[in-house]
């Protein structure tokens, strides 16, 4: 069928709008990436001349290295704990009917509407009142609360889509409920679990607001270290760190993609 003029106009408008949106989404990163290459010691755009010296500075600055290690540890432990707890809650929500099910669901989802600084502040007051030391585990606890809704949602969706016939088949073949869970349900839910865990880890790795309340000099995460840096210095080191940051997350996602096929993990297949 021959396209009318209107179709052409809509076609081209559509393309322009899409390109604009994609460009807009990527714009901040592009600006920061270019700014990170600036030779001079000010964050400006566009750069006067190019250099990689701020990357060298980023790697040499001890707070960043320590912050990165802290962030990785916190993300790993936080995601793991949130995954185990979240998967358990999701299983309970999917499989059992009980009086306060709606309430439990609401409580589990509440971190989505409670601001992160409130969660950080709450745990700070609590830990102070209970005279708890401000260790890494306090940060992990904050992160678990923040990422739990995402894990619960992700696993819950996988459970909803799960074909119960597999479990019946296994049962009829003599598998006890525990065996069914270990040999059938868990392996088949693996994409959902990996997806939930991955989101949890990335969210925790990026978390800043709540962390700011509960870290100290020893336990500060990379985002907090970056914040503290920018309060003192205004050179492009921070832009360099941002680029490294994005590259680390992207490489992680690519690795997961290679290992487990990301489309499946993200449920967009």
């Amino acid at each position: 069928m021959k396209k009318s003029l209107l179709d052409h106009v809509l076609d081209w408008t559509g393309r322009i709008v899409l390109t604009a949106i994609v460009g807009f989404v990527l714009l901040p990163f592009v600006v920061v990436a270019i700014a990170s290459l600036n030779e001079s010691a000010i964050l400006s755009f566009p750069p006067d001349s190019l250099s990689l010296r701020w990357y060298a500075n980023a790697f040499e600055y001890r707070d960043f290295a320590e912050g990165l290690v802290n962030s990785l540890k916190i993300a790993a432990f936080g995601a793991l704990i949130a995954l185990v707890a979240g998967a358990g809650f999701a299983y309970v929500l999917d499989r059992y009917d009980f009086a306060l099910k709606g309430l439990l669901n609401g409580v589990l989802m509440s971190p989505l509407i409670i601001p992160n600084f409130t969660i950080g502040l709450g745990l700070l007051i609590l830990s102070a009142a209970a005279s708890l030391p401000r260790t890494m585990w306090l940060v992990v606890a904050v992160h678990v609360i923040i990422v739990l809704p995402f894990v619960v949602r992700s696993v819950y969706v996988s459970l909803k889509n799960f074909e119960r016939g597999y479990e019946n088949a296994a049962e009829s073949l003599g598998a006890t409920p525990g065996r069914v869970l270990l040999t059938i349900t868990l392996p088949l839910l693996m994409p959902g679990l990996i997806s939930g865990g991955l989101f949890a880890a990335i969210l925790s790795f990026n978390e800043f607001t709540a962390s700011l309340f509960v870290v100290n000099q020893r336990t500060q995460t990379l985002p907090v270290a970056m914040y503290n840096y920018v309060r003192e210095y205004a050179d492009p080191t921070l832009a360099a760190v941002s680029v490294i940051y994005v590259v680390v997350v992207a490489v992680t996602l690519l690795a997961v993609h290679k290992l487990f096929r990301l489309e499946k993990v993200l449920n967009v297949e």
């Binding site: 009829s172 073949l173 006890t176 409920p177």
Partner: protein, 376 residues
Amino acid sequence: MSSETPSPASRDDASETAVQIDGVTKSFAGTVALEPVWLKIRRGEFLTLLGPSGCGKTTLLNLVAGFLEADNGELFIDRDLVTQVPPHQREIGVVFQNYALFPHMSVAQNVAYGLRTRRVAKAEAERRVRETLELVKLSDFADRRPRQLSGGQQQRVALARALVIRPRVLLLDEPFSALDRNLRTAMQVELKEIQSRLGLTTVFVTHDQSEALSMSDRIAVMSRGRIRQIGTPSEIYDHPQNQFVSTFVGDANLFAATLVSREGGAARITVGKTPFEVQTFQDALPAPGPVSLFVRPEQCRLTEAGQPATVTARVALSVYQGSHAEVHLDCAEAEEGRVMLRVPASAAPKPGTDVGIELPRTGPAIYAREEEGEPA
């Protein structure tokens, strides 16, 4: 009238009963899925639960498997009371409608699953997996994943997985519905052969009457959570005991008739204004008054119009079927307004022709008039 028709093979010997269902009922959220059902399945028997969707056949199967728990009644497998026993202790084999093959395991691992749960020694397990895959002709596919197999092959894996554990009862939940027609017939023959060779007690659920007629030792026809009739395929087809069974199994012509008088299974009736004397296969007939006269297409004969002792009709359509033609007739006396007969393809009358329908003297049945959709 009892719905259970005794057949010559029936012996009420407890050791011959593989599955006994005693007054089992099931409701879902207040909706009755299964009225109290009594049923004895003999050892080695191929019993089919036949009925339209929602008749309770799958519910009954799930109760035997243990995936559902009965509200009332008792269930025995090999004389053991299993009403409260969870599925993994029932020693039953199930082939599911969509096969439910474990996608993360190879064919051999799927088949071996039920042996691993039973802690069968490795060498013994391997031998049995090999033998069972041979039985279903899949020896060359042991290392494949289920999704790499065709529908028919997947079904064989599902069958092998259920057979390898040497179940006390094999349950088949519409196993052929996902296969195309040619493959379906081939698989039916194959399954039936394996079943009778192993002498396996089998409960088969289907809504397909031809499948039920061709494979079963006995058929239990169900509707609305009840067993409406149970008997051999020929008992069900030739002697349906109520209108539901007569129309659900095979093609049926139902005429609106008036029962004038009766004696045993013999009756004087009128169809339209024409009086008939018929000898039914029934032992007892409904009270005189409006009734339904049931006749199979092959029991009627087409005659020229105006012959005595015929019901008048007009040809609406002849459908060529190769070996024969189906003649659809408009007939005022038919309950649905239509009658269907089969004639040799060469003898198919033209649409618009007035004809007579000659009814058989023996072999029809007379049922009390059923309200639309209401069981008798």
